[in-house]
């Protein structure tokens, strides 16, 4: 275990304060994507950033924002390194991050006990009528809090979200999918 210097802790705080380019209510720290900051000599640092999804196009914007913030703080050389392992999970989103998502109108991901695919319900087909059970409890409407919501599409405005509709207040909303 490498010990973190006070400077590294300070820079990690700074890098983590950068807002997410697609969900600006969240900081990168709340999203859980900034893994570490390592000082490399007098005024050079390396930042470890992990993508939410492998193909997440926001990673490049995040890297540029981190570089800018740290340079403004006097760091001459900033390298942002993309790390894949351990794979990011929605469980890495902080409680504060979840609260902010809800306030922003996005149902936060449910906390998962084990990895594996999340089952989603299927409406009736010709020979089957019973919907499948959900394992993680209901997705609550971020607007009115109702647990009665339905899936409209597994993929929404970004790969990390699904589109749902509240059956109580009828509002459609995004749900940050468990990953």
């Amino acid at each position: 275990m490498v010990t973190t210097t006070p400077l590294e802790a300070e820079l990690l705080e700074l890098a983590g304060s950068v807002p997410d380019p697609e969900l600006p209510v969240l900081t990168l720290r709340e999203l859980g994507v900034v893994r570490a900051v390592h000082a490399r000599g007098a005024d050079a640092v390396e930042v470890e950033l992990t993508p939410t999804y492998t193909g997440c196009p926001a990673v490049e914007a995040m890297s540029l924002d981190i570089e800018r913030v740290l340079r403004e703080h006097g760091v001459r050389e900033v390298t942002v390194r993309r790390v894949l392992a351990p794979a990011w999970s929605t469980d890495d989103i902080t409680d504060e991050g979840r609260r902010k998502l809800r306030e922003f109108g996005i149902a936060p991901p449910r906390v998962r006990s084990a990895s594996g695919p999340v089952r989603v319900e299927l409406g009736p087909t010709r020979t089957h009528s019973a919907p499948r059970e959900e394992d993680l409890g209901p997705v609550r409407c971020p607007h009115c809090g109702s647990a009665e919501t339905e899936l409209l599409s597994r993929f929404s405005s970004t790969a990390c979200k699904a589109l749902r509709r509240c059956l109580a207040c009828r509002e459609p909303f995004d749900h940050f999918k468990e990953l």
Partner: protein
């Protein structure tokens, strides 16, 4: 193009990890491109978004994998058809929506099983596989739910699904040919794949085909660089911008 000497994009040393990175990377790249062709043509807006998101996941995987084998852009845009190592399954044209869904079902089930196994090992592909398997779980779920919905849907959707299930069956045997550099139990993967696909098709009231899973002709040789006729046209479209404007940037 005479001013720019053709770059030799063949890796200098054809090491096993490179062969494997190209096989997996080309699968992801080619299927990503095929799914991208749905943009502007999907039956409903939600599906347009879903297919584009799946394509984006695959493109992200392809970038990581191809970067392990060389320069991602050169590999994607400057290789000739015979240098691609993807399965023939993923290069098959989209066809109707049923055709696309069955291709997704066959491939995502394979990818899920393979990446689960690679993620559990300690080889060079473990980090990417651990990441990708979580994304692919959603792709597989998407394909399975549509298979149930359409197979067990109207007479028309059932007929189209069965047609697609039968038509693509001959390309599924190739998935389980061992790839150099990938430490996997290929026979075990094939058994698990057949079990899962059989269960989903039966639940969807579809019939599991009985025909061969490779053709008497060249089907099953994508990993060796032999591709089906539509692939050349797909590549021409995918590569023409990069080749017409070498070095162009946004």
């Amino acid at each position: 193009m005479t001013a720019t000497p053709a770059k030799d994009t063949t890796p200098a040393k054809d090491t096993a990890p490179t062969t494997a990175a190209l096989a997996l990377g080309d699968d992801a790249l080619v299927l990503s491109h095929r799914l991208g062709e749905w943009a502007g043509h999907a039956p409903v807006l939600e599906e347009e978004v879903a297919l584009a998101n799946i394509a984006l996941d695959l493109l992200g995987q392809a970038r990581v994998l191809l970067s392990m084998a060389g320069d991602e852009d050169e590999l994607a845009y400057l290789r000739e058809e015979r240098a691609f190592r993807n399965l023939q399954l993923v290069e098959q044209p989209n066809g109707d929506f049923a055709h696309t869904i069955v291709r997704q079902l066959y491939f995502s089930t394979y990818q899920y099983l393979l990446h689960t196994e690679l993620a559990a090992g300690d080889g060079p592909f473990a980090p990417l596989a651990a990441k990708a398997v979580k994304e692919v779980a959603y792709h597989r779920d998407h394909a399975e739910q549509w298979t149930l919905r359409l197979g067990d849907g109207t007479d028309e959707s059932h007929t189209r699904m069965q047609r697609a299930v039968d038509a693509l069956w001959r390309y599924t045997g190739e998935m389980f040919q061992p790839v150099e550099g990938l430490d996997a139990d290929w026979t075990g993967l094939e058994t698990a794949w057949l079990e899962r696909i059989g269960e989903i098709l039966r639940r969807a009231t579809l019939t599991v085909p009985e025909g061969p899973r490779t053709g008497a002709w060249a089907a099953g040789a994508g990993r060796q660089g032999l591709h089906t006729e539509p692939f050349g046209r797909m590549l021409a479209e995918m590569q023409h911008l990069h080749r017409s404007h070498p070095g162009a940037t946004w």
